[in-house]
Symmetry: C2
Subunit: 528 residues, 2 copies
């Protein structure tokens, strides 16, 4: 057994049974070991940002880490943008990076680089493994760290010789020594700390004060149980129920309480919070503007509003909400469930409103929405609030180029659920290679590319930063129509069947066909 | 005048008149300033790796830096792989990264990240600018650093408020105060140190000893003057003339001395060096294997061979070669020029040999070849040795995904020269978005994608690392044929007209048409 085999056996025993990879020479031992550990499903990506984004989507939906396999510093570099999103969403990922052999590093071969410096900004845990007999312990520690409180990207760097040299059987955890290795035999679980009683008392007093208050839910509190408990609390106390603007995973739809997400633009978020006197953070961060703007607030908490923390990222937010509900006598209070209500199927021009309607009318049962629609998808949240229950995955770290890989990873995690990727044209082009992985793996993902022939958000932002002096040259830098991107051709070229939709009716028909048929599809929606 | 305008004025005055960009909200002031500084040509990329790779290609061909414009840490992350290649090639690049406003950083907004940690591994110079009045000085220092000895990636990080706040006219260098600003008025030049006389004496003695010797040329010594001086020396002394395996820019073809590049595989490179007793490094590094392999040497210098350094990266290698030629009495020696000799136009199957023949037969005058052909292009160097004089740009840092962006940047630098990008199928998919920039800018680039439906090099490497135990699962991770990539469709979708070639004759005909017509073209070559 060599180091690579020790790694794979330990990963599988620890419940890591998927690896999104784009390997190179220094990772060939890992690749060669795949045949002896068939419990690990390897998923090939043409670009590392696809692998890391898919691992993020997998982690959000499976609540356990997938592994990645990346090629030295530059391969890691290509994966950093989506690891940044994963870090912000606190997704569990075991991020494996190959390195030159230990004795080769000092020679400064062309691919030598400072992997640690590149990895630290996106990693909650980092280790470089120097000896084959340390591989198993480091791999187990990486899985535990990824699943820790809160979850994180755990980066494990494996030099080539550490992969190819012999590792002792005794270096493996006992569960990884069995042949064949049993997937998930170790099964580390995410452990959250108990919430703090003193903080809860203060929150209860604030809610019972009669002063304007809101709960701001984030992270782990945005699943059905957390939202339901929060809704009881709000119904009982009169507090407003809000969610962070970019949740990693939000359960929503008919039969669940509906949560109002804070808007991306700070002024709108401030209006949502209004004259609050108490803002209760539940695994959420103090709300701040995504960007600074001249003359606009960066910190969005209303003046005179006291901020309370019910549960931090390392605490059990659901337990805290349920305990708070009990404390204020809301445990028998009925939550405010959203009724099933779908909009009519749209006709006419393909406007953002029509797009929202089409999705609201046709979203399948138990769907997963990967939302990177930016400006074009602005009406989708309202239009789908009463659609069948679904999960919404959003752009946690605001780094575009996430949507298509995330959808692929979610589909691998949940093969029985349909996935819908809502993707802006500009954002789609960062990791368009994800379509090929969707085709190769036969993933049930329907991608809608919302084409407004521009970086739509930047046309708004250009004015908001006070840069409206920009003339035709500036505006041309935000245009994507010269030449037009033909997403049908690109998608066909990557193996995903695609159609073009220029009206609301064409979009609805295309969605219906895509949802009815297994495997990946793409709809190029020409927006007006 | 705000900070962004101060930056643009200083860049233009310093001779930086092209910026490859993929901006976001924090860079909108830079974008808005473009209209007031039209001497700077902005080139939009759909992905940051395209922008950084194009800046590298520009720097190699123009011998002066282009700027980039990237969006915070994640945007920089996407550009890192090609900045790694630029670092290895010592290309001059002014790498501009936007950041949150100074006062916004402490709020840890979603896009906040440790930019410095990400930038340091690829940057020879780094600065974060805190005040608008420092922008001009930092920009001028960045240009000087990029052009220093040796060239480097100079990373300048500009917070949004530093861009939008007023800068004093007096903070500008005098040349940047003129209206309109004169491009290149400051014109810093790359300065190289004088070579060391003692080292030269030792090299001369070694060459005159009669023992087997070789010159190994790299970096700045691989232009016509350096190669010609080196050829005189070798003709006089009997030394072998070698080049590093991955030159940033190699001038070659008919009428120039031909230089033998060291092979990628260490065993072959060792065979090329044979029983050398003296290896003279001329702006080249001691030869090492790209990767380590079990039981194979990493350091490739033959046993008993003394390594001499004639010129380091910070010294004037051409001056050193010319002085050495004079010292050993080779200054009147005739160099060994390669005669013009083209292979016949190929027919039959589209093999790697036929590909080489087609390129050798048809390469236009004064072409620039961006070579990322990996295994498929193995016969091209021999077949083009007697083609009209051309420049070859290679994969300096061994990080694949460089070829298409590099070609775009070279075409921007040299609008009157035809560019040929030889691109492997796997490598093409990392930065395929470069085709759109080629179309948008009407660049005269002919791309040939060599399709062998696999990561061909990895099929070889899998065995070389001793991982030949890998079975069908391992081998499936190196296959690109499920589904097939249709590069004609992808290219059409990105705005570049494309054709498929399945025989040598079809390839030659497609090349001929593409070379005859201005603007970008792509040929999808199905290799056997």
């Amino acid at each position: 057994m060599n180091g690579a085999q020790a790694l794979l056996r330990t990963l599988v025993a620890s419940g890591v049974d998927v690896c999104f990879m784009n390997p190179g020479t220094s990772e060939m031992q890992f690749v060669a070991a795949l045949d002896s550990t068939p419990q690990l499903r390897p998923v090939l990506a043409l670009f590392e940002g696809v692998a890391t984004g898919a691992a993020d989507g997998f982690g959000r939906m499976a609540d356990r880490p997938a592994a990645t396999l990346l090629h030295l510093g530059p391969g890691l570099g290509n994966g950093i943008a989506n690891l940044h999103n994963a870090r912000r969403g606190r997704s569990p990922i075991v991020n494996i990076v190959g390195d030159h052999a230990t004795y080769h590093k000092a020679l400064d071969a062309p691919l030598e680089s400072d992997i640690e410096s590149l990895a630290r900004p996106v990693s909650g845990w980092y280790r470089w493994t120097a000896r084959p007999d340390d591989v198993a312990a480091h791999a187990a520690a990486a899985v535990a760290a990824a699943l820790g409180a809160p979850g994180c990207v755990a980066t494990l760097v494996l030099p080539a010789d550490v992969s190819w040299l012999d590792a002792n059987e005794e270096s493996l955890p006992p569960e990884a020594r069995r042949r064949p290795v049993v997937a998930g035999a170790i099964a580390p679980k995410a452990v959250r700390n108990r919430p703090d009683d003193e903080k809860m008392k203060a929150v209860a007093a604030a809610l019972e004060s009669g002063e304007p208050a809101a709960l701001l839910l984030g992270g782990s509190s945005l699943r059905a149980t957390g939202i339901t408990a929060a809704s009881r609390i709000c119904e009982r106390s009169g507090a407003k129920l809000l969610a962070e603007p970019f949740p990693a995973r939000l359960e929503r739809g008919a039969g669940l309480p509906s949560v109002e997400r804070l808007a991306y633009f700070g002024e709108l978020a401030q209006a949502q919070m209004g004259p609050l006197r108490h803002l209760v953070l539940v695994d959420a961060k103090r709300p701040v503007s995504a960007f600074a703007y001249p003359g606009k607030a960066s910190d969005l908490v209303p003046a005179g509003c006291e901020v309370h923390v019910l549960a931090g990222a390392d605490e059990d937010a659901v337990e805290a909400l349920e305990a708070l509900a009990e404390r204020i006598g809301a445990d028998s209070q009925a939550p405010k469930f959203h009724a099933q209500r779908r909009p009519d199927r749209p006709t006419g021009a393909l406007t953002p409103a029509a797009l929202g309607q089409a999705i609201g009318a046709l979203l399948p049962e138990a769907a997963i929405i990967s939302d990177e629609s930016i400006t074009g998808g602005i009406f989708v949240p309202d239009a789908t609030a009463g659609a069948p229950r679904h999960d919404l995955l959003s752009l946690t770290g605001n780094s575009i180029g996430q949507g298509l890989p995330l959808a692929a990873g979610a589909a691998v995690a949940c093969p029985d659920r349909p996935v819908l990727a809502l993707e802006a044209d500009g954002s789609a082009m960062y990791t368009i290679q994800a379509l090929w992985t969707q085709a190769r793996e036969g993933l049930d993902v329907t991608t809608v590319v919302l084409d407004n022939s521009s970086y739509g958000i930047l046309n708004i932002e250009l004015g908001r930063v006070g840069a409206d002096a920009g003339g035709p040259i500036a505006r041309s830098m935000l245009e994507l129509g010269r030449p037009s991107l033909d997403f049908v051709a690109i998608s066909d070229g990557l193996g995903v069947p695609a159609v073009r939709a220029e009206t609301a009716g064409e979009l609805a028909a295309a969605l219906e066909r895509a949802f009815a048929e297994d495997g990946p599809h793409l709809v190029h929606a020409i927006m007006v």
